[in-house]
């Protein structure tokens, strides 16, 4: 507990993930100053004893470590570099941690902008969803200097159960992109396998059961396979978020001059799902884009 005391921790972005993460930090002894676009979440956490930052710059001014848990790259850009943004209020020697899923090249630019102010930057995107955020069992993939990672570690250790320092700034986001590619493509793999089983007269539930423990087994077969069998697609992670992550991975690949043919196909299948009423369904609903012929 003591490692989190003696320094103010700013937390910007109190959504489904951010709010329980801020609470976990407070419970672990962190002294929190919070900010969010809509004030309801701020009011709620202030009533629990946290301070309100009032704006991104105000939060940065009042904190030594600033965590951002925001929905997409444009929002991170605005919160970090915009008018009354974090950079405006940032004190020399502070640490900025981006825990959202942000594009890789701009992440490297954000790191440079923060370091130019005499501060540390760490990209530390997460996997594990709202359940992982609530239970502090997030998988955290970090990119940044050794010093930034070491400084962030006590905080990350409160929020997650598996924390890996990948390499320099941006590589946490690279690992997250790799994670999302595998998740999206493995959902597609399970979807094609269960669709084939159903049409060929085998009970998909029995097939899923038979495959557990073998080379076809995975968390996706276990969790998302069950959702497909139950035909129940309450998110979880929304199809639109999965598509955004596939788009970011493909954009990165294009910038690097490489092709990811299966990721490209999967993005097109998510496009179909979203255009046909599945935008707010769990990403496992991709099976609807397979089992439509």
């Amino acid at each position: 507990m003591t490692t989190l005391q003696g320094q103010k921790t700013g937390f910007i972005g109190l959504g489904l993930m951010g709010k329980p993460m801020a609470r976990n930090l407070a419970n672990a002894g962190a002294d929190l100053i919070v900010h969010n676009r809509s004030s309801a979440s701020v009011d709620e956490l202030v009533s629990e004893g946290m301070a309100a930052g009032g704006s991104p710059s105000g939060t940065a001014q009042g904190a030594d470590i600033i965590i951002m848990m925001l929905p997409d790259t444009p929002t991170v850009e605005k919160i970090l570099l915009g008018e009354n943004g974090v950079l405006v209020g940032l004190k020399p020697g502070s640490l900025v941690i981006d825990m959202g899923t942000t594009k890789v090249p701009v992440t490297r630019a954000f790191a440079k902008a923060v370091e130019d102010k005499g501060c540390d930057y760490l990209d530390a995107p997460v996997s594990g969803g709202t359940i992982g955020a609530e239970n502090a069992t997030l998988t955290i993939m970090a990119g940044g200097t050794d010093a930034a990672f070491k400084r962030a570690h006590p905080i990350l250790n409160v929020l997650g159960s598996r924390i890996t320092h990948i390499g320099s700034a941006g590589t946490g986001q690279v690992a997250k992109a790799a994670n999302q590619v595998i998740v999206g493509l493995n959902i597609g793999a399970v979807a094609e396998a269960l669709t084939l089983a159903k049409h060929a007269g085998a009970d998909p539930a029995k097939v899923r059961e038979a495959l557990a423990g073998g080379f076809a087994d995975s968390r996706i077969l276990e969790v998302h396979g069950q959702r497909m069998i139950d035909d129940t697609f309450m998110p979880g992670a929304r199809a639109t978020v999965q598509r955004k992550d596939m788009d970011q991975a493909l954009e990165l690949a294009a910038e690097l001059g490489i092709e990811l043919p299966a990721t490209s196909l999967s993005r097109d299948l998510y496009d179909w799902l979203i255009e046909n009423g599945g935008a707010d369904l769990d990403h496992a609903a991709l099976i609807k884009a397979i089992d439509r012929y």
Copy 2:
């Protein structure tokens, strides 16, 4: 042990998988009569105390239960229905078990041909490779009547650690096809993710480590991901076998009038790998078909 005694067990196909499986049955107390295309493996097992069937029909004549562990559908067809085939020697009341990966529609025809002779038929393909065969830890997916499954169970229980009765004849092969679709596509998923990571400046070994335990985790990430990182593709399972299995899945899908777009793309990538010198490499070498641009 006693459950395997009092009945003769025929075993046809003593390859990398079949030979250790036959030995495991003998060690468990089964009374074995064996046959193989080339006689070296037969001689070896005869020297260990097993009997030689001399031909498929001779093996069937001398056995109550006949197991086939053969490389492909044409071979099963020849061994079962050909001149001096199993069907010629089959005694009424026998049980035939096909443990290879055989096409679904012909499996149903084979079951009918065997049942028309007053016998039981079970398709019981396996997953787990030579290591699973040697250690008796195979995953076994069975299709057939309840009576056929019940009768085969003591034998399957010796050979594997996870045995599931999917449904009627052919559904074991359907489950195996589903298994192979997931394995092939998840190999492709891990290949695209690690290729992206490498080109984007993140250490693929660190990325694999970071993803373990999260939603991207799988046996494929663990085992085949490591092979990709080590750039070591000693099979394991050969690319040609994986392509054959993808082809069989796609052929089945076409017969059912459904499309499996990612499986189709993956088969094309395996084609490229095989045409470019990768035929005898492990199926994880698919990353060479991704990381070539």
